[in-house]
Symmetry: D2
Subunit: 109 residues, 4 copies
């Protein structure tokens, strides 16, 4: 992976970690939390996997490519769940997750 | 910290990580998720801090004592929230969290 | 995954997290650290992936199987590096890593 | 914490996570690894604590202030170790760590 590509991926992943955490907390504060269970669950998983991948990329881990493949799937699942909900934090999170999934796919390919 | 003490603390912390994660997922599956928001929030924080502390203890980090002080507070907060709910997973989590808080306090002192 | 199987896997993963962290620190204290670079690197990655997988298993994440596949590879890589070194902490770590890889493979299959 | 302040802190913490991971890997590749043991150790701890704090800040955790106090100390310790070494990655890491410590202190106060 070229240095420039790497920097861009780390930035995208870190943005996804932040956005998923914001969405996680906002979902817990929604009036109808019972509709947000899958979103809360996936926000957490997505933040965890993106955080780990960002650190693997920074260190040039030999497992980066394979973890990126998994990360793409988690981001997509999280984005698909988020986009179902009209809350601004969910719509924003969906957008960031899909962008992150795309960058991860490119690395994993 | 003596070796034996260390082993016991790691075991307690890892048990707390597991129990908080089980409680987190079970809370998201409860009928009245809206009553479980604080529990879900604290289960996650408690699992994260206990996991980090367990790894710091295993490596003999110089920051173990101070992180143990914070961990004790997170475990107590999580235990106090969990014990309000009659679900078996919450009652069990409260018990494990209080035991973990106590061990952390002993290290932090 | 059956409850009993799940408990066993979590225990194995948590043991691997602990053992890799102990090996990481011990390697940094060895006289010939320059020979331990790959071991230090892989001990960290292995602890990180095993820790995440243990938490995914506890929560019944839909990504457990796929993460287990990656975890098996990281454990194997770490075990293969560790077994090259005669230090007791490396030999013990290799043994725990291979056992963990095997359990992960079984889940991933 | 105001929204703007929060965004700035998260950015600083994520930058510190990245820089510590880059320094960790670069230290392992140095000719005299045996002189870098403390740097490797602290780079890892600093990345771990900064990563956790960044996620706590994003979620508005009640433990943010206290974790920031600990994070400031870890960043300072890492910066102090890094600045002893003339490698470019260490000098850069020291600079980022000290800046991060300062922002954490401001939150913790």
């Amino acid at each position: 992976m070229e240095r420039e590509h790497q920097e861009s991926l780390i930035r995208t992943l870190q943005n996804c970690v932040k956005t998923c955490n914001i969405c996680f907390e906002a979902c817990l504060n929604e009036e109808h939390v019972e509709m947000m269970a899958d979103c809360i669950r996936l926000d957490r998983e997505c933040a965890e996997v993106c955080s780990l991948l960002g650190q693997f990329v920074s260190r040039g881990s030999q497992f980066t490519t394979e973890l990126a493949g998994l990360c793409a799937k988690v981001c997509e699942a999280c984005g698909n769940e988020c986009k179902k909900h009209n809350h601004e934090h969910c719509q924003r999170c969906a957008q960031i997750c899909f962008a992150c999934a795309e960058e991860c796919h490119r690395i994993a390919a």
